[in-house]
Point group: C2
DNA sequence: TGTCCGAATTAAAACGTTATAATTCCTCTA
DNA sequence: TAGAGGAATTATAACGTTTTAATTCGGACA
C-alpha cells in the first residue's frame, strides 16, 4: 500500500501521477479510480471521497492525450482567425473574451489562420477530417456560408459570428447592424444632415446586407440623399478608401454626413474632411462604430457607438459550450443591441 | 490484400485511415508502415515508396493524440496572451505572424490568457507540469522575469519578446527601444523643441529601461529639458494619462515635445493639445511608435515609427522552431532596428 | 552441408485513459 | 441452507502510435 513508488509520489519527487499512481496509493484498481474521479454513482461514496482526496494530494491531472485517444474528444476549441483585416482591437478583444470564458473549463483554444481571399472551407475540412477540435468559432459569416453548410452537414458544434440565410437553425451571435445603421442615420438627420454616405464591407457578408438595409431605408424614410460609396469596401486598402472619399468631396454636392462601420474608415473620413478644408461639426458629421476606446481621444470628437467585442467573444464561447453539451441549436443565438450614438 | 475494409478505405467511404489501414492495404505490418513513413533507412527504399504512395492515396494523417501519448510531444505551441493592455493591433499582428509561420509545420497554436496583475508564473507552471505544449512564446518580459527563470531551469523551449538581465543566454526577439527613443528625441530636437516629455511603461519591464535610457541620455546630450511624466504608465487608464498630460500643460512651461510609445498615448497627447488650444506643429510636436496603419489617417500628422509586429511574431515562431529542434540558445536572438521617424 | 551474418521485417509492449463485461461478496428470501 | 439479487469493484480490451527485441530469410563462407 505504501511501496517505494507510492512514497516517492507522495513526496512529489516522482514522475507525473497517473491513474496507476492513484490506484497504488489508494489500494483500489485503476478502473475504480477512473470511475471515482468521474463521480460515477456506482462507486461507493466513501471510495469516491478517498480517491478525490488522494488525487488532490498528489496533484493528479488527467493526461489529455490519453483521454483524447480513448474518447475521441480533443478538449480543443478552434478559432478561425482572419489574418487580413480587422477593426482596431477586434482580435484582441474578441480573443480575450473567448479565452477568458474557456479558462478553467479544460478546453484549450487554438488559433487557425483563415486567409479570406483563399479557400475558406479548407481549414474547416482539415479540422473535421483530422478531428482537431470539438468545436469551432469563426467570424465574417456569409449569407450562404460554405463553412456553415459543411459544419451543419457534419453535425459539428460551432458558433458563427454573424447570421446566415440558411433555413436550418444554427447557433450564432450577432450585432444588430441594421439598428446601428438606422440609429446612425437618425443621428446625422438630427444634426441637420441631408446628403449622407457610407462605405460598406464586401457584399458577401450577411451583415453587409443588414447595414445596407438599415442605412437605405432609414435615409429614405427621412427623405434625404444617401449614397453607398462605390468601388471600395471596408477591406479595400485605406489609400483606396481615402481616394474614393476625396473624390466624393470634389463633386458639386459633397456629402455632409458619414456613417462609418470601422474605425479606420472613420479616420479616413476625418482626414478627407481635413484635407479638403472642411470642418467636422460644421460642414459635415461623422458617426462610427468603435471596438476600442481609441475614439475617446480623437479630436474632433465624432459620434460613436461601442460594440463590445469582448462580450461577443464571451457569448460565443459560452454558447459553444452549451452546444457541445448537447443543447439543440434552435434557441442558441444572441443579437447584441447597439446603444444610440454619442 | 484487398479485402472489404481495404476496398472501402480505398473508396473513401470508410473510417479515418490509421496505420492498420495502411498495413492491410499494403500487406506490410503496422511496425513497418510506421517506420516507412518516418523514412527509417532500415526499411527498404521500395517499401518506403509503396507505403508513402498508399498513405497519400488514402489520405492518411497520423493521429495527434496517439502520437502525443506515445512520444510525449504535444505538437502544440502556447502563446501567453496579455489580456489587459495592448497597443492597437498588437495582438492581431503578432498572432497573425505566429500562426502564419506555424501553419503547415504540424504545430498548433494555443492561446493562454495571462492577466498581468495576477500570478504571471502560474500559467507557465501549468503548462510545464501538465505537459501542455512543446514550446512557449510570451511578451512583456521583465528584467528578471520569473517565467524565464523557471523555463531555463526546466530546460523548456521558449522565446521571449524582450530581453532580460539574466546572465545565462536564452532566445529572445526584441525591438531596439533605446534607439527608437534616441531617434524620437533627435526628431523633436530637429523641430526645435526644448522641453520634451514621455510616458513610460511600467518599471518592471526591461524595455522600459531601454526607453528611459535612450530618452534621458539623448536629451542630456542635446542639452534640453526632459521629463518622464510622473504617476502614470502606458497601462494606466487613458483618463489618468489624459489628466496627467493636461496637468503638465497647465504649468508655466508646458512641454513642447512628446515621445509616445503607444498609439493611444499619442492620441491622448493630441487631445491634450487640442483641449488646451495648442496647435500641433506650432506649439508642440509629437512622435510615436505605431503598430497599425492607423496613423496614416490621423490629422494633424504626427511623427511615427512603425514597429512591424507581424514580422516580430514570425521571427519568434521561427526561432522557437529552431530551439525546439535543439539549436543552442546562444545565437538565437534578434534585435529589430527602428527606421527613423517620418 | 551446415553455420553465420546482415538486411528486412515483424510481434509485442507501452503510453494513460475509458468502457465493457465479468467477478466478488454480502444480504435477503424461500 | 441454497440460491437469487444487487452493490461494489475489477480484469481486460481498446484507442493509434512508436520502439525494443525478436524473427525470418537469403546468401556468403568454411
Amino acid at each position: 500500500m505504501t511501496d517505494d513508488s507510492t512514497l516517492s509520489a507522495l513526496h512529489g519527487h516522482g514522475e507525473k501521477p497517473t491513474l496507476r499512481t492513484l490506484a497504488q496509493a489508494t489500494g483500489f484498481s485503476v478502473a475504480t479510480v477512473s470511475r471515482a474521479l468521474a463521480n460515477d454513482p456506482r462507486i461507493a461514496a466513501k471510495t469516491r471521497a478517498t480517491v478525490a482526496e488522494m488525487a488532490k494530494r498528489l496533484g493528479y491531472i488527467p493526461d489529455r492525450a490519453a483521454r483524447r485517444l480513448r474518447t475521441g474528444r480533443t478538449q480543443v476549441i478552434s478559432l478561425l482567425l482572419n489574418t487580413e483585416h480587422e477593426f482596431l482591437g477586434f482580435t484582441h478583444e474578441f480573443l480575450t473574451g473567448i479565452t477568458e470564458t474557456l479558462a478553467g473549463t479544460g478546453y484549450s483554444v487554438t488559433v487557425v489562420p483563415d486567409s479570406p481571399g483563399e479557400d475558406r472551407i479548407g481549414p474547416v475540412r482539415t479540422i473535421l477530417r483530422n478531428n482537431l477540435a470539438d468545436g469551432l468559432l469563426f467570424t465574417r459569416t456569409e449569407a450562404f456560408d460554405p463553412r456553415v453548410r459543411l459544419l451543419m452537414e457534419a453535425d459539428f458544434p460551432f458558433v458563427s459570428h454573424g447570421r446566415t440565410e440558411f433555413t436550418a437553425p444554427h447557433p450564432w451571435v450577432d450585432y444588430d447592424n441594421e439598428t446601428f445603421a438606422r440609429q446612425a442615420v437618425a443621428y446625422l438627420v438630427a444634426k441637420g444632415r441631408s446628403r449622407i454616405c457610407m462605405v460598406l464591407p464586401g457584399d458577401q457578408f450577411t451583415f453587409t446586407q443588414h447595414l445596407r438595409y438599415g442605412f437605405v431605408s432609414a435615409a429614405r424614410e427621412a427623405g434625404i440623399a444617401h449614397d453607398i460609396v462605390p468601388g471600395v469596401t471596408l477591406d479595400s486598402p485605406t489609400a483606396a478608401i481615402a481616394a474614393a472619399l476625396a473624390e466624393a468631396r470634389r463633386g458639386p454636392n459633397p456629402p455632409d454626413g458619414y456613417v462609418c462601420v470601422g474605425e479606420v474608415t472613420a479616420l479616413v473620413a476625418l482626414a478627407a474632411l481635413a484635407d479638403t478644408g472642411a470642418v467636422h461639426g460644421v460642414d459635415a458629421d461623422i458617426v462610427a462604430k468603435r471596438a476600442s476606446p481609441i475614439f475617446d481621444n480623437i479630436r474632433p470628437r465624432i459620434g460613436t457607438v461601442f460594440e463590445d467585442l469582448r462580450a461577443t467573444g464571451r457569448a460565443m464561447a459560452e454558447m459553444l459550450l452549451r452546444r457541445m453539451a448537447g443543447e439543440p441549436p434552435e434557441r442558441l443565438n444572441r443579437l447584441f443591441q447597439p446603444d444610440p450614438p454619442r
